[in-house]
Amino acid sequence: MSESVLRLENVTMQFGGLVALNDVSFEIKKQEILGLIGPNGAGKTTVFNVITGVYQVTKGDIKFLGKSLKGQKRYKITYGGIARTFQNIRLWGEMTALENVITATDTHKKSGLLSGLFGLPISRKEEKRDKARAQEILDFIGIGEYADRLAKNLPYGVQRRLEIARALGTNPKLLLLDEPAAGFNPAEKVELAKTIRKIRDAGYTVLLIEHDMSLVMGVSDRVVVIDFGQKIADDLPAKVQNDKRVVEAYLGVPDDAS
């Protein structure tokens, strides 16, 4: 545990008068699973959106592998090595599962439209290579058998997993998972936890937003808690669970204490 992959430095994100993130700083180290939790509306997804360039930070800076992400185009950030999943599934429904993943692997292709038009060898070669890679990723995530089915017809749980597979297709150094277990039953959550660890063990770094406490506490190496846009804790899971401010944020402050 040494090298820092991503570092948020005093990030503030304002929408008009609303302060969604207020002076938030934390870092993610290489091959770490960092859990990001907080009550509804605390600003978790906003963190994802500023990292992936959907929003530009109002103040502060985000450094990925030492370089600032400020002003970078969204697809360039993905090209640089950050990929995400979506809280509300946003697959390309009318493409097959395999095509969903191949489209993500296209990020690193050299061939484009014209080499495809003229059927250049490089286009054919890359196509073959990436098709194999996409199938490998599907197998790795455990949904290889669904490769030829349209994404919109897949069972809900498979769709959630396909979101992860698609993000892995871009060959990221940092994987952002936005509530991957939403709507899962307990057995599926256990499976997912295994998958997330497997992803980490394969060399990826993971930032995980999740509501399910047992999953987050079980799988994360470290947990960051935010509430009303502010970081209130950043520690090992066991310590965070007993942190007074975290308990207050989730359960409220007793009447007689205030």
């Binding site: 959907v54 697809y75 095509e99 990020t107 495809g116 196509e127 349209l150 993000a167 297709g169």
Partner: protein, 339 residues
Amino acid sequence: MFNLRDFGASIWERSDRKMRVLIALSAIAVAAMLPFLGGTFLNTPVADYGSVLVFPVAIFAIMALGLNIVIGKSGLLDLGYVAFFAIGAYTMGLLGTKTSLNTWEILPIGIAMAMFAGLILGVPALRLRGDYLAIITLGFGEIVRITALNLNAIGGANGIIGIPTPPTIFGLEYTFDNHRLYFWTFLIIILLTIWMIRRLSVRRGGRAWESIRQDEDAAELMGVPTFKYKIWAFVLGASVGGAAGVLYASKTLFISPDNFTLQVSILILACVIFGGMGNIWGVILGAVILGYLPDRIRFLSDARLLVFGIVLVLMMNLRPDGILPRKKREKALPAKDSK
């Protein structure tokens, strides 16, 4: 219910290479035979059958194929597609009457002009989406027409007359009423366009367009350079429209701003939607039907457009995805999962 698209697709998928070549060749042969069917029930009562096949049918088919790249493949609503058609036609008209260049030499110039216009329009317009893009393109189509109308250097409201026919090739003379020759020439252009679109639709480019059409934000966040691919779709669509314009001008020998009204854009859009957005065979079929039908039912005289409208309304209610909807590539599940 009988599904024409799946029926066709299953025949195609079950055939081997030899069979496919045979199917393709016989389809081309049938299309090439169309001009000889003038004596049958296909005959159009008032307009000359041969000339209806060239314009509107063949020209509509080329334009619908081009617009399909923009709307069907990448999901960009372009309501000013006629602008590229006009730019191609005016390139042919100007260069054909003022210089000694012939149609085949002007064709690439016209295509390049239309592509350039697509780029000029695309760079600012494609930063917007959906409705906004539709309005901008709508405006662009009108700007091009009104510019042509008011610019006396290119004929103003009178347009350009005396545009030359294509030069004689292989001893085949393009006289004004040699409709068959024009039809076969345009058929070759259609086949080339189909080839281009089919090649572009596979692999990276096709997937990029498909992902943009389905969810542009997700595409961008998965590393698809969406802006670049949208520009490409626009420019390639424009190139086909420009080619159609050059050919049109070289066939009618007379163009004026009246040929390039908003109605043309809407009609081509109707061809694409009626036939089946995103499916090249569908949009060709749509263009053939919508180009041909008004002339076929001309015996209804004044009620003709009413019937045409009713057909459109009925079709859109019964088959909202068009006659031949977009291909769904799902394969059957392997047996082990089927229980």
